[in-house]
Amino acid sequence: MEKHLFLGDEAIAQAAIDAGISGVYAYPGTPSTEITEYIQGSPVAKERGIHCRWSANEKTAMEAALGMCYAGKRALCCMKHVGLNVAADCFMNAAMSGINGGMIILTADDPSMHSSQNEQDNRVYGNFAMIPMLEPSSQQEAYDMVYSGFELSEKLGYPILLRVTTRMAHSRAGVVTSPLKPENQMNCPVNGRQRFILLPALARKRFKSLLVSQEVFTKASENSGYNKYFDAPNKDLGIITTGIAFNYLSENYPDGFEHPVLKISQYPLPRKQVERIVNECKEILVLEEGYPVVEEQLKGFLGKGVTVHGRLDGTLQRDGELTPDAVGKALGKEIQSYYAIPEVVEQRPPALCQGCGHRDMYEALNEVIAEYNGAAKVFGDIGCYTLGALPPFRAIDSCIDMGASITMAKGASDAGVFPAVSVIGDSTFTHSGMTGLLDCVNENTNITIVISDNETTAMTGGQDSAGTGRLESICAGIGVDPAHIRVMVPLKKNYEEMKSIIREEIEYKGVSVLIPRRECIQTLTRKKKASKK
């Protein structure tokens, strides 16, 4: 029994290795990135040849993971919450086919949007796909759930959705690990075609099996050691917690619970225990990190029957992550602060690093854009360069989802906007910009696409970028006229040249791709340090 200090993400990664995975498939995204990075750095993973290279996006990652599970081996697939939107097609249908080797799909949700564009709660996806879900309340539980989760997945025959949130993923605690298991042997399914070919006639059967399995999943939840019932004398209230909400509740009752508590960490909801707490207690308070998923299930549409408090009736804030204070307040406890934040304290928003190539790209682009007196619209995308939205640049008009800069600029151009400009990073381009570029090429859309190439995935900490060294040939392969694929080096001394290229290509009536290319200085520094060693 060894005790390690692990981030939640690291606990998940180590557990997956110890459980005998043969591959992790992922695209980076806060707060999930450290899982794959940990496996990439693990000597055991190296020795075993566990697959751990980054995938181009979450959909390719999940499909590859499913392929590995088809072949009988165990695979982990990780993403941030919005990544599951990208992979949703595979996700929903993997619930139809089921798996062969064990599969855990990890979603790292980000309530309060510490580094995300929304705070969607992916338990909704779990319910949507009707597969079992796990939601750990501690790093140790995260480890144990993953360690035994592959077996559970194999036993039930379905992928399992493991949901963590920022405070679990990015919080460290001591974790006791279990012995390393062997990998599964390759073992393709015997009657695989009945399950893995989702033609309507077969898919209808699969869906019926999934429906029948719901009872089995519920039984598994009812018997799960992760769902715990704590009885207590004061039955005026019963409290249901999910995931880490349990910790915030415990923090408020250091000497033991006053009311009965049902801690839920495995879904679908354990019916027996939920029935018990509802029958024994007058009213119910639901504490959950994220959307009022359980609360809505208990309440029903008309809210008749059980009296349920939580995020929907204002007992807790509807948005944002839970805190021990928010939970304390919901329990009627007094929260005391002795010192206020003094007025002199100013906000300190993040900014592009000094010397970053995106800065030089924006400096030049902004000057040309200004020449169009407000007519130009610049559709941005997601990455470090999104910080170009803030002063002093204020350079972009939108940032919605990865890849949307190209396609939104296309739609705006179709609507008559000129100049319609897209600014996208190299990793985002290969994640989901390439298909949009094909749409533009097919219609010869009047659009200017800036792929700000820093040769890495910088926003999430400098992971390899799938198209490094091949962006020009990718664009040419998609059909962009090579005369309108223009590479430049974003540096102050090149501003005049950059500006004239930008001007020319905006004026060109068709698809142009500009590639300002200079390596991210953070990645460069890291590489230099690593080579010194």
């Binding site: 200090l5 707060p31 679990m168 460290r172 915030y248 602060s337 100013e346 928003p349 993040p350």
Partner: protein, 193 residues
């Protein structure tokens, strides 16, 4: 024994290394610990903070409730003030005195200092200056850790061991530089107390 600490600073200043060293030391001491940090957006020159909780009993929440922190350790004076609602009435604030100015509206430092002056228990020191004297300005965060060590309830030699563990793979020179920085911070805080 139970110690709740808020670490604060600006992205890139190295508060997470402080947290990592304390974490290793706590583990060696056989203590329970939880440490929540924020990665991502906030690391590009934005404000960063970490909640660090140590105890000889299991710890429930990863986050520290308001009014519960035994101390705030900050690598930047204005950032130290941002988390005051979390400080206990009798809590200590230990901060670097040197402002990190990367925003146009950074307040006048006199105003920041006036706020620090109003607190009953604080240690304010120029860790960068001390780090320079100790050999490298890059170890300013470890000077700060040294200054905070007397308040942690963890033996000094366990913190030293934590440094060896965290910086070990970077080579003996880096380890020694950090040990020196730790000592310098520790000695100074002792003399100010």
């Amino acid at each position: 024994m139970k110690t709740d600490i808020i670490l604060s600073g600006v992205g890139g200043q190295g508060i997470l290394s402080i947290a990592a060293v304390i974490g290793e030391a706590a583990l060696k001491e056989g203590l329970y610990m939880k440490q929540a940090e924020v990665h991502g957006m906030s690391q590009r020159g934005g404000d960063v903070q970490s909640n660090l909780r140590l105890s000889d009993e299991p710890i429930a929440s990863d986050l520290i409730p308001k009014g519960h922190a035994d101390m705030i350790i900050s690598l930047e004076p204005m950032e130290s003030l941002r988390y005051l609602p979390y400080l206990k009435k009798e809590g200590w604030l230990v901060t670097n005195s040197r402002p990190f100015v990367n925003i146009p509206n950074y307040p006048e430092i006199e105003k920041v200092n006036a706020e620090l002056d109003r607190l009953p228990h604080k240690v304010v020191l120029d860790v960068e200056e001390i780090a320079k004297e100790a050999g490298s300005i890059r170890a300013a965060n470890i000077v700060m850790l040294g200054a905070a060590t007397p308040f942690l309830g963890i033996d000094y030699d366990k913190i030293e061991a934590g440094i060896r563990h965290i910086f070990g793979r970077k080579g003996e020179d880096i380890v020694n530089m950090n040990l020196k920085a730790l000592k310098a911070g520790y000695d100074l805080a002792q003399s100010l107390r």
